[in-house]
């Protein structure tokens, strides 16, 4: 069994009597994008700092590529990380000079690599300007460039898209997706649920330092929806096909999950042969935002039930839960 790129075991961190992170166990495999999501104060940043070796666990353990990062600081040679938002650099140095300094700290990188990561993050034209005059988004992109500098096996990023415009946001997500495709394990904390849902392998939902749910999005890559002339007939028909694992109805669409996304071309002929008109066919992206709101809502409602009178959670949250529930589909979000 290959060693997990990141592994925590009952990880707990407390400042004083109050635990910020409690009994957190998770792992991130090579090539996987693992997202930590949760409301502000949920403990995402603390988890990032514990995993990257900046903070010490109160109990439990952290393994980075199989090693304790505190015992073996050299394991960070294979780590790229951004733990500040915006990413922190020496403002009196240029973007390029800052990366050169980082290159020295990792023991050197090929000369062309600095220009390569600057271009990758579309910072080439600003590379020789002082970082002090960079915008928030440019600093964040420089942070990602610094993290990618040594072609790491593990990338850890805390809010990598914070303060970015939509184009930069898209760029960062694309870069992270590409890094994962090349085998890098990516751990990030984020509030951009819609974006990460499109490429994350798994998502951990944190609330008050506790892992309340871990959603595996990988099997959802093979989920599709079709707009057809007869949804009921289409659902029954698709349900009988060997390459379809599950089919259901949501509104005027039929939703189905394939045994393999490569089987998609077989869907249209089956429907056409049964004289069902296929009007549109697309991937059914998992509604992570709605699921997240549901799970947090359930958790808070449960906490409120357990709490004494007067300590119930904020009623304003109920609206979001209702809204999320309306999106519930027949294929079922609850399979996470």
């Amino acid at each position: 069994m290959p060693i997990a790129a990141i592994a925590t075991e009952r990880l707990t961190k407390a400042y004083g009597p109050r635990p910020i992170v409690r009994d957190l166990t998770f792992h991130v495999d090579p090539g996987e994008v693992y997202a930590l999501v949760g409301p502000n104060g949920a403990g995402k940043t603390t988890v990032i700092r514990l995993v990257s070796g900046l903070a010490f666990p109160s109990s439990g353990s952290v393994r980075l590529l199989g090693f304790d990062p505190h015992q073996r600081p050299d394991v960070r040679r294979r780590l790229g990380a951004v733990v500040e938002a915006p990413a922190a650099f020496y403002p009196y140095l240029s973007g390029r000079a800052n990366l050169e300094l980082h290159a020295r700290l990792v023991g050197g990188v090929p000369a062309a690599r600095i220009g390569q990561v600057l271009d990758m993050m579309e910072l080439g034209p600003s590379a020789d300007r002082r970082v002090g005059v960079y915008s928030l988004g440019m600093r964040q992109r420089l942070g990602v460039a610094a993290a990618l500098l040594s072609e790491p096996d593990v990338l850890i990023l805390d809010e990598p898209a914070s303060g970015m415009d939509p184009l930069s946001l898209h760029l960062v997500h694309r870069v992270l997706r590409d890094a994962a495709a090349q085998g890098t394990a990516v751990l990030l904390s984020t509030h951009h649920l819609d974006e990460v849902a499109t490429y994350c392998s798994r998502v951990a939902i944190l609330e008050e330092g506790t892992l309340i749910d871990e959603v595996d999005l990988r099997d959802r890559q093979a989920r599709f929806r079709a707009s057809v002339s007869d949804v009921h007939a289409a659902r029954v028909l698709l349900d009988t096909q060997s390459f379809v694992t599950q089919a259901g109805i949501r509104g005027h669409e039929v939703l189905f999950q394939l045994t393999d996304p490569a089987e998609l071309p077989r869907v249209a002929p089956v429907l056409t042969k049964a004289r069902i008109d296929l009007l549109a066919l697309s991937r059914d992206t998992f509604n992570l935002r709605a699921y997240y709101q549901d799970r947090l809502g359930e958790r808070r409602a449960s906490n409120a039930d357990e709490a004494p009178d007067g300590e119930a959670s904020e009623s304003s949250f109920e609206g979001r839960v209702t809204e999320a529930s309306e999106d519930e589909d027949a294929v079922g979000r609850g399979q996470a």
Partner: protein, 257 residues
């Protein structure tokens, strides 16, 4: 380690407090050399360029130089906190102790750089009085400023260099104490103020004669009047430096960032 040291020296020369210190150390020798009240305060007239460096030390070792050393040493670490670069650096494959050790080494060398600068500025400023033989003393030797007869240039310069070297050595523990307090409080201002507070408290402790020879502040006048033999002074300073450096590294190793 040499790469780390080069990086830290690069940061040192960019510190605002260093530039401010150098500016002060240019202004003060100029003012002292031509100040009308020198005789009233120190009881002598300058007759040689070799006496200006002594005046520089006599007037700054009590407060100004320890203050400048403490502020800059605290800022050398504190700047990483204000820029937010400390976590970024610690995420690289450099052990915390090695990185802090580089800071401690540069902080230890800083008093030498500062005093070398003061010496050069004082010698340049003193050119007005000339550098020939003179009757009197440098103020840094056995005969004090009045001297023991005719003073030749070579022994005068040797006395000055020796005194500046001893003064720099006696400032090293203050540098390291500032780094220790900065690690403790994670703030340059906190580190510098705590160092100054400690120095002031130590100065007040002279009311206990038994502990006076052991105080850090008692060693600050070693360049002209050591509390004991130079061997004792060096040993005590070494003990202080080791204790401050080890405490700083141990604390830093266990800090959460």
């Amino acid at each position: 380690m040499s790469a780390l040291l080069r990086m830290e020296f690069g940061k040192l020369v960019r510190l605002g407090s260093l530039r401010f210190s150098l500016l002060l150390l240019v202004i003060f020798p100029l003012l002292w050399s031509y100040a009308p009240g020198i005789f009233d305060v120190y009881g002598f007239y300058l007759v040689s360029g070799y006496q200006v460096p002594a005046l520089g030390l006599l007037s700054s070792m009590e407060f100004l130089l320890p203050l400048l050393v403490a502020i800059t040493s605290a800022e050398l670490l504190g700047i990483e906190m204000s820029y937010g670069t400390l976590p970024t650096i610690l995420l690289r494959p450099v052990s915390r102790s090695r990185w802090l050790l580089a800071k401690l080494i540069v902080s230890s060398l800083y008093p030498f750089l500062l005093l070398l600068f003061l010496l050069l500025v004082s010698l340049i400023t003193g050119a007005f009085y000339g550098y020939g033989s003179f009757v009197g003393g440098t103020g840094l030797g056995a005969g004090g400023i009045l001297g023991e007869g005719l003073m030749q240039p070579a022994p005068a310069l040797a006395e000055i260099v020796w005194a500046y070297a001893v003064a720099a050595i006696s400032l090293i523990p203050i540098s390291l104490l500032a780094v220790l307090f900065t690690v403790m409080f994670m703030s340059a201002a906190g580190g510098a103020l705590a160092t100054l507070g400690t120095l002031i408290a130590m100065k007040l402790l002279v009311v206990f004669p038994a502990i006076e020879p052991y105080l850090l502040t008692s060693q600050l006048s070693s360049y002209v009047a050591p509390v004991a033999g130079m061997g004792w002074v060096v040993l005590l300073i070494f003990v202080y430096c080791t204790a401050f450096a080890v405490a700083a590294v141990v604390l830093f190793e266990r800090k959460d960032f």
